[in-house]
């Protein structure tokens, strides 16, 4: 991709990001003009010369305390899942890899469920308990799936999906079992599991931010290695890449991003699968472009999926995972049916 193309791609994406934030905060049960949301955001960001005298306290609260955290969280979750998906696809050299299909999301969900379960049951609690449990679960899942799917150093599409299905099904059973044990507390777990951004506030953003920032930085730092690993592990070795270390670091990082996302928003599928493919069509295979572009597109996609989730059947909210599945599943089928040659990385 030429430098000028890159510049215009990112200019367009940042413009879309800006519009998304302003517009998504305007849409909802109470319609608020986009101009008003923009002014509220800007004044809150420390631009006191912006006139907000005519805006009511309630409107300001709806935009700043309810909608904006949700929009930002959507951006972060979408970006994390898309980044994790791009990384898994590149690293496993497998176009159908994403946190959901390879069981990492299930692993994180199981870990998080165990954390919630222990908390309800014994009152056990320590800071960041849910994300840490989710992270552990995600790592265990990727470890199992990776070793199950590996045939002679390669990870074929079919075995990867099979291993993902096996591990995911097992983990769903574990979660169901825990929900049975949890009894009357089951409602909370179920609500969280089905995947959504309801009732999320600035607290949750502060909560997952450190994990996501760490993950983003590590992945962007290793974008060149991801490119080279696409050529095969041996070729990467000959180009000076410390393959074993890099592979482990990237797998752990992508699992960390998934776990952080799952621990605040539950299981949201398909974002990590479809976004990298869609972006690759625009950006080409270079991870130095693909990763940031996927993060932006993933975030924007997630925000609009969430807007749909809270408006389509208003005042009833649909879990956002249902929206992403409705869009993602047909795309997944399309990818599966495309000739193997055409879904190249």
């Amino acid at each position: 991709m030429k430098r000028s193309q890159k510049t215009s791609l990112f200019a367009a994406l940042f413009a879309a990001l800006f519009l998304t934030v302003v517009l998504a905060a305007a849409v909802g049960a109470v319609a608020i003009p986009a101009g008003v949301t923009l002014r509220i955001i800007l004044s809150q960001l420390g631009m006191p010369w912006i006139e907000t005298g005519d805006i009511g306290r309630n409107t300001e609260a709806i935009v700043w305390s309810l909608r904006l955290p949700r929009v930002l969280l959507g951006l972060l979750i979408g970006a994390s899942l898309a980044l994790a998906g791009s990384t898994f696809q590149g690293l496993l050299r497998n176009p159908l890899a994403d946190p959901f299909t390879i069981g990492v999301s299930s692993g994180a969900a199981t870990g998080a469920t165990i954390a919630i379960f222990l908390n309800r049951l014994s009152g056990l609690h320590f800071p960041h308990m849910i994300p840490l449990f989710a992270f552990t679960g995600a790592l265990m899942a990727i470890f199992f799936v990776y070793n199950l799917a590996k045939i002679g150093g390669q990870i074929p599409v079919a075995t990867l999906l099979l291993a993902g299905v096996v591990v995911s099904s097992f983990l769903s059973a574990v979660i169901s079992l825990l929900m049975v044990f949890a009894g009357e507390n089951m409602q909370g777990i179920f609500f969280w599991l089905s995947g959504g951004l309801m009732m999320r506030s600035w607290t949750e953003i502060g909560f997952v931010m450190p994990y996501l920032l760490l993950g983003f930085c590590l992945l962007f730092a290793y974008a060149r290695e991801l490119n080279i690993l696409l050529l095969g592990e041996e070729a990467a070795l000959h180009l000076g890449v410390r393959v074993d270390f890099t592979k482990k670091l990237l797998l752990v990082t992508a699992s960390l991003l998934t776990a952080a996302a799952v621990s605040v928003s539950g299981m949201i599928g398909f974002v990590g699968l479809i976004i990298p493919h869609a972006v690759r069509m625009l950006s080409g295979p270079d991870h130095r472009v693909l990763l940031p572009a996927s993060a932006l597109v993933g975030g924007i996609f997630m925000v609009w999926a969430d807007v749909a989730a809270r408006t389509v059947m208003a005042p009833q909210e649909i879990p956002v995972g249902i929206i992403t599945a409705f869009i993602g599943a047909p795309f997944f089928i399309y990818l599966l049916r495309k000739k193997k040659k055409e879904i190249r990385l």
């Binding site: 490119n227 095969g232 041996e234 000959h238 295979p285």
Partner: protein, 418 residues
């Protein structure tokens, strides 16, 4: 950069793949590793490029142990072209070659103008400049192989390691790739180590060879030292004909396809062949395979029949190149005829220099030996003596020689009489 290997051993799944390998590749050499399938060639290459670590023994690259290099430093001195298992299909040729600059770039450092210049140079050297915007997926096998070599060159290596760079390529590309590597070896002082399956290519391009057999060195040295009929028969279990390349003089290896199924194994009778001018190569091979004890005469040194007889280790009478048969060699020839049960006169081109071979046939007839006269291509002019040869042939026929119009008939006739 020199590579020294001392007592290298490697075991894979309790199977000893390499045993006590020691060799030295001098700086600037084009070094070939040959051997049958499963002899450990690729394993040796992987040990040299540190994809595998030896179980015992030492590899030295330059003055330092191979183990002491960081992965990045190693990539600056050694580039490896593995067999075409290319992914990364959506990358352009230029992007792929730029990856060769990775060892020189810091984590967040962008490519400099110098990197672009070096990539361009590598693309030019490999003839890939026009391909630079194309995607890897759109290239042919030969083009991809060139791109991989370009990427290796972008690493500015001192040592280039290749694993069968010509596998699956047609001969045009085989030559193109190896010519390119040879040129780099000569002009840039690159040390090249390559596994080659094709023994002829190994002979043309390498100046040193090592022949592996079941993980051990069976032979090492110049192509002429290593590629002998004996070595190949021993290691590959195949009889071959080794002769000098008509232009280069390097050994060429020709297979001797077996016809054993159609020829019964015979008792040890002696046959003397009167041959020359490339008329009897197939005869020698077939008759020897059939179990006869052969001798040949009189051949000129350098003649292709002489090459064939020599590589089959047949007793022969040889005359100086392009010289008429002297009385001395004629006598020798007659001596061999006396020891033989049967004489076969091959369809030799007749000139003033080898009329004595025809006279030898007459002598044989006079002594009561059976003489078979092969005439498969009667229409082809083979008498270059203004009739003298024809007269002698007529005499031979009158003298009772059996005229044979087809080799198969000869074999049948011999089988019946001997």
């Amino acid at each position: 950069m020199k590579i020294a290997v001392q007592n290298l051993s490697f075991t894979y799944a309790e199977h000893k793949v390499l045993t006590e390998i020691s060799l030295t590749v001098e700086s600037g050499n084009f070094f070939g590793i040959i051997g049958p399938n499963g002899s450990g060639k690729t394993t040796l290459l992987k040990l040299l490029s540190r994809v595998l670590r030896p179980e015992s023994g030492l590899v030295k690259l330059g003055e330092r142990a191979l183990d002491s290099y960081s992965q990045n430093d190693l990539a600056k001195v050694m580039a490896v072209v593995v067999q075409d298992t290319f992914a990364g299909y959506l990358f352009s040729v230029e992007e792929i070659v730029m990856m060769g600059r990775t060892p020189y770039l810091g984590r967040f450092q962008a490519e400099t103008l110098q990197d672009y210049a070096l990539v361009r140079q590598a693309l030019e050297l490999t003839g890939c400049l026009e391909l630079r915007q194309r995607k890897i997926a759109e290239l042919s096998g030969g083009e991809r192989q060139r791109v991989m070599i370009a990427r290796a060159l972008a690493q500015q290596p001192k040592v280039l390691i290749l694993d069968e760079p010509t596998a699956h390529l047609d001969i045009g590309y085989q030559q193109e790739i190896l010519d390119l590597v040879k040129r780099l070896c000569l002009t840039e002082g690159l040390t090249v180590v390559t596994v080659l399956h094709d023994l002829n290519l190994a002979a043309y391009y390498c100046n040193e060879l090592v022949l592996l057999e079941q993980g051990r060195i069976a032979a090492a040295g110049s192509p002429a030292d290593v590629l002998t009929a004996e070595n190949i028969a021993r290691v590959y279990k195949t009889a071959v004909l080794i002769s000098p390349h008509p232009l280069l003089g390097t050994p060429t290896v020709a297979l001797l396809p077996s016809k054993r199924a159609s020829l019964p194994q015979q008792k040890k009778s002696r046959i003397h062949l009167l041959a020359g001018g490339g008329s009897a190569g197939e005869l020698m091979r077939d008759l020897r395979e059939a179990g006869y004890i052969l001798s040949v005469g009189v051949l000129n040194v350098g003649d292709s029949d002489w090459e064939a007889a020599r590589s089959l280790n047949l007793p022969l009478v040889a005359e100086a190149p392009f010289s008429a048969i002297t009385a001395e060699q004629h006598t020798q020839n007659l001596r061999l005829i006396q020891q033989a049960n049967v004489v076969v006169l091959a369809e030799i081109p007749i000139g003033h220099g080898n009329l004595l071979n025809l006279r030898a046939a007459l002598t044989a007839l006079a002594e009561g030996k059976a003489v078979y006269l092969l005439e498969e291509n009667v229409k082809q002019q083979r008498d270059f003596t203004q009739g003298e040869g024809q007269e002698l042939l007529a005499e031979i026929k009158q003298g009772g020689a059996v005229i044979i119009t087809e080799k198969a008939r000869l074999y049948r006739a011999l089988a019946e009489t001997l």
